[in-house]
Amino acid sequence: MPSYSLSINGQMHTVEAPGEMPLLWVLRDLLDMKGTKYGCGLGICGSCMIMVEGKAKTACLLPVQAVGKQAITTIEGLSGNNDHPIQQAWRTAHVPQCGYCQSGQIMRAAALLQEEPNPSPEQIEAAMSQVLCRCGTYPRIKEAIQSAIQLSKKP
């Protein structure tokens, strides 16, 4: 079985896995990092959203052999203290209901602001429409993103 060295949340992890195994299952079942969620395995729901070199990617469609040296960030590594501006804004707006999609929502929003600190409404829509929520937290996500943008601007 091939072995891969992965940089996840600033730490190196070595795993033995078939090369086609999606990073989602490497994270969840081999590395015991359960924060990234499975919702469809098809790249549609966005529950498994992570960052690869700062860009949002669905972990369920990313074979472990394609990761290489790229830096992976998961929800576990987003902040030390639950204090990323997105997490702060999510807290204030009481976004999560069941919360199952929220790792994906938070990672997608964090990647958006990292790429574009001042996103247009269209950019926000395009990014956030990649993560589905069955509980209906969209109105609060909308509100939270706006306050996260303001928070990120503060020195």
Partner: protein, 724 residues
């Protein structure tokens, strides 16, 4: 169910004094006992923590987060002293969540129990100081007496309290004095939801476990003929392939025949499935396709059904003015919670343990007993946090499958459905077809004849619930529209030939009854060129306000009127519409005693529908936690929009056509309209809100479409007619 539960809780309160106490010979101070349980809901600990043990499960609605407020309020303690946990299901005492009655039940039933616990400790403080308990002052968890300089706490009174009798009754905290109730508080799990550490069912693990994925027969009640597992067993990580027989309708819960792949990780189990060679005996349900179902529904509509509601005798035709008829239909819908069904089960010959996101734990316990022959003590059920349900997790099928796989493999097994399994092998919100006929005279309806044909959940799973062949779950929601129409006759037919697993779904038949009834009111209003809101209000004024529904529930017309009047004001109903714009209104009363009205604002340009905004007015009694009530209202609206825009479950040769969120779409961020909510103040006790706002959303939107472009939608989803 809830009321009975609380009665038994009350009678048990003093009996369970014995629970959790390590008895000591004499009273001493500070306390020498570790904890003390005066009733089934509360355990007071020496360290000051008060454990609140509820029979409710968290799935996003936050019932327990709000029950905490009730406990803190009645006990007069800081909120963070209360630590909530879910009761472990055992033979005695029901554990289960459903019917939007969680908060309503606790508001009515549990506050008196909390209050008697408070009184018990007040009495204990009186005894401790040898003073009249009436002179005791309790604030922020500290008991004081005007003549004493020190104060004592719940924790320090454990021993004294444990020796006293729990009072039968105690006064409730008055609404004017509420400190927690009525103010917004977060979910208790919020922090863990923000960093991915909240453990759901899918995240459960134990030593030596295997991961399982099941290839199930695609047609309901088909059988497994033969299978070849050679290739699957060669896939790296695959450990075993195990066939499962499937169950009949009569079993605790239906699940199909299947072949399970067990592996050292989830992905290998899923990949192994693709390598199975299976031959099914698909059976007679192969005949089920959309045409067959629609034909069957139509034939039934043409025949005679059972009348489940009628007022006086039919007027003769000469009394009638113009007559209007129409046929409506609604599709099958799937629950599709974001977390797929899963369970970790560990079976040994001595007993079994399950970690499962199921919210009907008492039913699960009964099913596990039936399957294993184990006694209560040999079964341990752990309730995990749930990634949504919408009714799907009332069932226990996935937990039993996991248990059977653990038994067969001799290892703990974590079973996880794929999204495609969830879509194709769900238990569905039943489809239905409806015929309506009304006569109108002088601008007012004189009659309404309704026929509804639908799959019956009860006929399929619990036939003993039918009364004289009537499924009241289907019928009752039509009775919850209090419009004054002199002659009504409602008839139902149960499409029992359609063997598709049917299940409760956020609001179930209230959604479809609401769509049909509130669309029909709109049709009647427009046929008489009357404003639809004014038309409704005119039909709500004539007779007395209180209406009994089958002698069981009371509906208050003045509250129904109230939400409609308020929605008119909030939405600026009378404002002029711009070109292509439309507004639609709908209201509802529900079995969990809440009232809601919605106005939808849409535009239709060419064939393109845009839903701009929904206004919602709610009368749900005392609002306990506005933050979470609003979240439920937002969620209900999104849930209904998700269903009505593009989603339907369809059949070809007995198999579900749709696969996942790609072809069974759920509303996206971009598609979500603005939502404005107004919660009406109320003196009524708290009522339910979990399945409320979805109900009037359907007709509010379709009525708005008619207002915008003259297109009357009588069949869902909307993408049959419009670009959405």
């Amino acid at each position: 169910m809830n009321r009975r539960l609380f009665l038994s809780t009350a009678t048990l309160a003093s009996g369970s004094l014995m629970l959790g106490i390590k008895a000591r010979a004499q009273a001493s101070f500070p306390p020498t006992i570790d904890d003390f349980q005066p009733n089934r809901l509360l355990v007071f600990q020496k360290d000051g923590i008060i454990r609140l043990i509820t029979n409710k499960t968290e799935m996003g609605q936050g019932t327990n987060s709000s029950i905490r407020l009730l406990a803190a309020e009645e006990l007069c303690v800081p909120l963070d002293w209360i630590h909530q946990e879910v009761r472990v299901p055992a033979d005695e005492g029901f554990v289960g969540t459903g019917g939007s009655w969680g908060m309503a039940g606790y508001y009515r039933g549990a506050r008196p129990i909390f209050a008697t616990a408070r009184q018990l400790f007040v009495n204990a403080a009186g005894q401790y100081w040898s003073v009249d308990p009436k002179q005791i002052i309790l604030e922020e968890g500290e008991f004081r007496h005007p003549t004493k300089s020190e104060s004592v706490s719940y924790a320090s009174l454990l021993e004294v309290a444990s020796k006293l009798e729990v009072p039968e009754e105690a006064p409730l905290i008055l609404a004017q004095a509420f400190k927690y109730i009525g103010k917004s508080h977060p979910h208790v799990h919020l922090e863990a939801q923000l960093n991915g550490t909240l453990p759901y069912g899918i995240d459960q693990q134990c030593e030596d476990m295997l991961y399982a994925s099941i290839e199930r027969c695609p047609v309901t009640q088909g059988k497994l003929k033969r299978f070849d597992s050679t290739a699957a067993l060669h896939f790296p990580g695959v450990q075993a392939v195990i066939p499962l027989e499937g169950t009949s309708w009569e079993a605790y819960d239906y699940f199909p025949a299947g072949v399970a792949v067990l592996a050292t990780n989830t992905w290998a189990a899923q990949q192994g499935r693709h390598l199975l060679e299976i031959e099914w005996d698909l059976g007679e349900n192969q005949k089920l396709d959309n045409d067959f179902i629609q034909r069957h529904f139509s034939e039934q509509l043409d025949g005679k059904g059972v009348v489940f509601h009628q007022t006086r005798t039919e007027p003769n035709a000469s009394e009638n003015g113009t007559t209007l008829t129409a046929i409506y239909d609604t599709p099958f819908w799937s629950h599709s919670p974001m977390e797929p069904m899963n369970t970790l089960a560990a079976y040994t010959t001595k007993g079994c343990e399950l970690w499962t996101p199921c919210h009907m734990q008492s039913r699960l316990l009964a099913a596990v007993k039936e399957v294993t022959g184990f006694s209560d003590r040999q079964i341990k059920i752990h309730t995990t946090y749930l990634g949504g349900s919408f009714g799907r997790r009332l069932l226990v099928d996935y937990a039993i499958e996991a248990l059977l796989l653990s038994k067969a493999s001799g290892k703990p097994v974590q079973l996880l459905n794929t999204r495609i399994d969830e879509t194709k092998q769900g238990h569905y919100m039943p489809a239905g077809k409806y015929r309506l006929e009304s006569s109108l005279k002088d601008g007012l309806p004189t009659s309404l004849k309704l026929k509804v044909v639908s799959l019956s959940i009860y006929a399929q799973r619990e036939p003993e619930q039918l009364k004289d062949g009537i499924d009241h779950a289907i019928g009752d929601d039509f009775l919850r529209y209090p419009y004054a129409i002199p002659y009504v006759q409602y008839e139902q037919m149960l499409a029992s030939e359609i063997q598709i697993p049917a299940l409760w779904w956020r609001g179930t038949f209230a959604n479809t009854a609401g769509f049909v009834m509130e669309s029909w009111m709109d049709e009647l209003a427009h046929s008489t060129q009357t404003d639809p809101l004014a038309f409704r209000l005119a039909l709500l004024t004539k007779t007395e306000d209180l209406v009994k529904i089958r002698g069981e529930e009371t509906m208050d017309k003045s509250l129904f009127r109230g939400v409609l009047q308020e929605i008119g004001r909030l939405s600026g109903w009378k404002k002029k519409r711009k070109k292509n714009q439309g507004r639609g209104v709908a209201a509802c009363f529900t079995f969990f005693e809440s009232y809601a009205a919605i106005v939808a604002e849409v535009s239709v340009k060419g064939n393109r529908l845009k839903i701009h905004k929904l206004y919602c007015v709610v009368e749900c009694g005392q609002v306990v936690n506005p933050n979470l009530v609003r979240a439920q209202i937002e969620g209900g609206i999104v849930f209904a929009l998700s269903a009505m825009l593009k989603a339907s479950i369809t059949f070809e040769q007995g198999e579900v056509v749709e696969n996942s969120f790609g072809d069974y779409p759920t509303l996206t961020y971009k598609e979500c309209p603005e939502i404005e909510i107004h919660l009406l103040p109320s003196e009524r006790p708290a009522c339910g809100v979990g399945e409320l706002s979805n109900i009037p959303t359907f007709a509010a939107v379709t009525n708005a479409i008619f207002d915008a472009c003259g297109l009357r939608i009588r069949s869902l989803p909307l993408n049959q007619y419009l670009e959405v």
